[in-house]
Symmetry: C2
Subunit: 117 residues, 2 copies
């Protein structure tokens, strides 16, 4: 795993580097279910492009939150799963999900798909 040797002034800076951006939380959330193939993730997130999915997954892999398992088959098969450290985000992800759902309810914001775990 590549080490991130930037000078972080604050742990939240590091946090945003790790799980910031538009898609990372959603990907991690889906992977809480268990390992998923590239195409499965793609279908679970209709709005994401393949390019972004690739980028974000590689990012998460580099940071040690996601494991990438390549099966040398034809047709190709690649499975993504959470590492132990990735899985340690579980309670935080649930809390965030609950918090934002509360916020949405309190402000008449509708959310299309709110998959429960």
């Amino acid at each position: 795993m590549a080490s991130l040797q930037k000078n972080y002034q604050c742990s939240f800076e590091l946090t945003m580097d790790l799980i910031g951006g538009k898609w990372k939380l959603i990907i991690l959330w889906h992977l809480l279910d268990g390992a998923k193939r590239f195409n499965e993730l793609d279908k679970l997130m209709p709005a994401i492009t393949q390019k972004m999915l690739t980028t974000q997954l590689r990012d998460l892999e580099e940071k040690g939150l996601v494991h990438r398992e390549v099966y040398p088959e034809i047709p190709p098969k690649v499975e993504y799963s959470l590492t132990e450290r990735g899985r340690s985000l579980d309670p935080i992800l649930h809390d965030i999900c609950k918090w934002s759902t509360d916020y949405a309810n309190a402000n008449d914001i509708t959310i299309g798909c709110n998959k429960e775990h």
Copy 2:
């Protein structure tokens, strides 16, 4: 408060709109201590520019997470504090802080200032 009428497909999308970006978590974290003046926040975050501080505070205010109190004095005095909903992020912020600190320790990443609460 302005209502956010976008079509959110996922609560994490909403979350990133609310507390995404480079500075919002840090600002909220500092405000957990209690109300702070503009200049205090500025000093607490040496790296932020005044423009960004203004922008982010207005953003958080618009979303109902931060309250802005203007005292009509000369010289001007403006205090920022957390709303009740902003304060409801408290446990999440602490969890995130702990999680990223763990991550940093496990990966030999040094963090300059890790203010504890």
